[in-house]
């Protein structure tokens, strides 16, 4: 579903991705963990071109994301392909001038030309799924952090993406609100949504992941099923990181 081939990314002299290879099969949940500055968020953002990469290929299904097109041609290409990828951010980034309903229906109506009625029906189903059906007419300013993030997930799902990208979605939340967001993500996992998750929540990672990737200093140090990676890591760097976070 998502395939990353030998991706390199530099910020000036600092190389933050040093040849990443990665594959997310359809219906699988992969979790990327690692210390801050390891490049995991950059990698996730590169998948839908919020960061451009200097070298390598990024594929979603059989379409290359980072095609060497110029100007408007690339714009068209990337806008199309981004519709297939749902992205959820650390800081929610809901549109504050729109109600919860408008946040969810805006993109499908504008980009997929879905009639309002149809888009709103779908939004209702999504809000039921994220347990916010009573907040339809609310503005983001009236919601808690956890509620905002669940709306953000519904907004991304409304485009019916093929893959969902989660960028440290619980890092900005009060501890008591983390659970409600994780619950929604677990629900998606049960429905076999293809997901790539960057997180600091090791327990959550262990619970939902089919496959865990440990990144440090711009490389994938180690990967494997959560049982192996968490219980019996092979690499010294992984052991050091895990002992730090589970201290």
């Amino acid at each position: 579903m998502v395939r990353i081939v030998n991706v390199h990314k530099r910020f000036g002299a600092n190389e933050v991705l040093k040849g990443i290879n990665l594959e997310v099969p359809r219906g699988k949940i992969q979790v990327i963990i690692g210390p801050s500055g390891s490049g995991k968020s950059t990698l996730l953002r590169a998948i839908n071109n919020l960061e451009t990469v200097d070298d390598g290929e990024i594929w979603i299904e059989n379409v290359q994301v980072n095609l060497p097109l110029k100007g408007q041609k690339f714009e068209k290409h990337i806008n199309k392909i981004r519709q297939d990828m749902g992205m959820v951010f650390q800081h929610f980034n809901l549109f504050p001038h729109m109600t919860v309903m408008e946040n969810i229906t805006m993109a499908p109506m504008l980009l997929k030309k879905i009639p309002r009625k149809h888009a709103e029906d779908r939004a209702h189903r999504l809000l039921e799924k994220v347990d916010l059906i009573d907040k339809v007419t609310f503005y983001p300013a009236q919601l808690s952090g956890g509620q905002k993030q669940r709306v953000a997930i519904a907004r991304a799902l409304a485009m019916e993406p093929k893959v969902m990208l989660f960028d440290e979605v619980t890092s900005a939340l009060d501890p008591e609100l983390v659970g409600e967001v994780n619950k929604v993500m677990k629900k998606l996992a049960e429905e076999h949504m293809t997901m790539l998750i960057v997180t600091h929540e090791m327990r959550f990672a262990a619970e939902v992941a089919d496959h865990v990737i440990f990144m440090a200093d711009g490389v994938i140090v180690e990967q494997g099923p959560p049982s192996t990676l968490f219980q019996a890591p092979a690499e010294e760097r992984t052991k050091r990181f895990l002992s730090e976070v589970f201290k």
């Binding site: 839908n48 714009e75 199309k80 981004r82 749902g86 980034n93 809901l94 549109f95 993109a107 953000a152």
Partner: protein
């Protein structure tokens, strides 16, 4: 000479006519200056350097010269290069351009103040750069700078009196005509002042109401 406000009764149709033209000027110029202001603001942060430079130059010229001079140039100057505009059209264009420049400055600060996450969230859904501006960035910027725009529009309303010098018979020129007829400057200028204040009050109240309505969605 004693003050005699009863002359106002005889001349009120003239003043009302003036008020009507002031109203028409504002009704044309306010939307024009807002729409052009947004377009200029967007152009001034365009990714295309040429568009940016031309817009900068335009803003700089109209910000740096007096409105009065611009009105003279449009009404008395343009005929010499074959462009004849009626006084009212000249006034609307002059006031409109002048205030769209001020509105553009305000709008630009509003647009660049919107955090990058809003752009990213919108683009990640698949919206183009233009769609993002239109649906996400500009509506938020407008809400955030509404108080500053309100101030601009009130200034516009008052400065519409300047177009009296290019023979648009709005409230100020009507008042001058009444004064010339009756030699009662205090009464008429005072009355015109009251009318301007009343219009201003009405305009400000309506604009503040719009601001309040959008308070929740900021």
């Amino acid at each position: 000479m004693e003050l005699d406000f009863s002359v106002l009764l005889r001349y009120y149709p003239l003043l009302l006519r003036g008020l009507m033209w002031t109203g028409i000027l504002c009704a044309c110029t306010i939307p024009l200056s807002l729409v052009a202001g947004v377009l200029l603001a967007v152009a001034s942060i365009s990714r295309i350097r040429l568009v940016r430079s031309i817009t900068e130059m335009f803003l700089w010229i109209f910000r740096g010269t007096p409105l009065l001079l611009q009105l003279f140039l449009i009404y008395y100057g343009l005929p010499y290069i074959g462009i004849y505009l009626s006084p009212v059209v000249s006034g609307v264009i002059g006031l409109g351009i002048h205030y769209s420049v001020y509105n553009a400055d305000v709008m630009r600060t509003g647009i660049v103040a919107i955090e990058i996450g809003q752009h990213e969230a919108s683009r990640s859904l698949g919206l183009s750069r233009i769609q993002t501006l239109r649906k996400i960035i500009v509506p938020q910027a407008l809400r955030n700078v509404a108080p500053a725009l309100t101030n601009n529009l009130i200034a516009l309303m008052k400065e519409s009196s300047l177009v009296s010098i290019i023979t648009v018979q709005e409230l100020t020129l009507s008042t001058q005509i009444a004064v010339a007829d009756t030699f009662r400057p205090f009464e008429f200028y005072f009355a015109a002042g009251v009318i301007y204040y009343a219009v201003n009050f009405f305009l400000e109240q309506s604009l503040r109401r719009v601001e309040m309505k959008t308070a929740l969605s900021r």
